[in-house]
Subunit: 131 residues, 2 copies
DNA sequence: AATGAATGATACCCAAATGGTATCATTCAT
DNA sequence: ATGAATGATACCATTTGGGTATCATTCATT
C-alpha cells in the first residue's frame, strides 16, 4: 500500500524547489541535484507536469520550467490524479469481476468513500504548505 | 492507487462465505465456485490465512478450512496487513532515498498519519459486517 | 494396509506496472 | 551558426502481482 509513486515524489520536490526560489525559469540541470534524480527522468516528469498545466516551459537557451499556478493552489491530490492515474478500488468493482454477493455487498461503497476521503486529505496539502 | 489486492479480495469472499454457513470444515473445492477463483490460487490464499491464524485447517478426507476467530473480530485492516504487507509510504521515507529538504519536510508525517487513518477505517470493518 | 480426499510447502512462470534511459526533433538567446 | 534548453517518443530493465504445477503429508474410509 504505497500512497505516492516516484513520479509524484520527485514532482513534489521539484515544485517545492521552484516555489522557494521563485525564478523566471529553472532548467532541469538546475534541479536534478537537489531533487536527487537523474536528469532525463526528471525531465520526463517535468514534461508531464507541463502537459497537465502545473508548470509552463520555455525552450532554448536560458529556458526552463516555472510554476504556472500559485503554489498555494497546487494540491497534492491533483498531482496524484495527473501522475499516477485515477482510482481503481478492488477488482470486484473496477474490473467487472463480480463476486457472488455483489448486489448485497457492503464493501464496495465503503471502499469508495474511504478512497474519497483519502483524496480529500491529499487535496488539503498544497505545494506552499510543503515549501 | 488500489486499496485491496486480489488476495485480500478473494480472502474476504471466502471468509464471508465461511461465516455465513458455519460448517466444521469447508474444502477449497466447496468454495472456489462462489468465490469465483481457481482452486489452486484460492488454496494458496487459504494457506496464508491459516499461517496468519485467521482460519484453522484439517487435513485429509473430510477436511478443509474453518474460521479460527469470531467473524465479528476479523478486521479488514488485519487482512490487509497479513496479505499485502505493511506500509511503504513514499520512497523518500521507506527507501532511504532522502530528498534535500528531509529535516524540514512536512510531507512524511502527513502521509504517515493518512495511512494510519486509512488502516483505522479498514479496521472498523469486520467480516461479520460483510456477511 | 490401501485408497483417495484433502491441505502444506515450494518452486516456477507469465504479464503488467513501475522506474529509468536513449534518441532525435524543435526552439531560441547569443 | 552554435549551443543550451525542452518536446516527443521509443525503448529497456526491474519489480510486483497474479497464477500454475508439483510433490509431500495427513487422515477418514474401506
Ligand atoms: S467484493 Fe464483490 S460485490 Fe463486494
Ligand atoms: S519528500 Fe523527502 S523529506 Fe519529505
Amino acid at each position: 500500500m504505497k500512497i505516492l509513486n516516484r513520479d509524484v515524489d520527485y514532482a513534489v520536490r521539484a515544485l517545492v524547489l521552484m516555489a522557494r526560489n521563485d525564478r523566471p525559469a529553472t532548467p532541469v540541470a538546475g534541479m536534478r541535484e537537489e531533487v536527487r534524480v537523474s536528469g532525463p527522468f526528471l525531465r520526463k516528469i517535468m514534461q508531464k507536469l507541463q502537459r497537465s498545466g502545473f508548470v509552463h516551459s520555455v525552450k532554448g537557451k536560458g529556458g526552463g520550467f516555472a510554476l504556472a499556478r500559485d503554489p498555494g493552489n497546487i494540491r497534492l491530490g491533483e498531482l496524484v490524479s495527473a501522475l499516477q492515474g485515477g482510482i481503481r478500488l478492488n477488482d470486484c468493482v473496477s474490473g467487472g469481476k463480480l463476486c457472488a454477493f455483489h448486489s448485497a455487498c457492503k464493501l464496495r461503497g465503503r471502499l469508495a468513500s474511504m478512497e474519497g476521503r483519502l483524496l480529500e486529505e491529499l487535496a488539503a496539502i498544497t505545494v506552499k504548505d510543503l515549501a
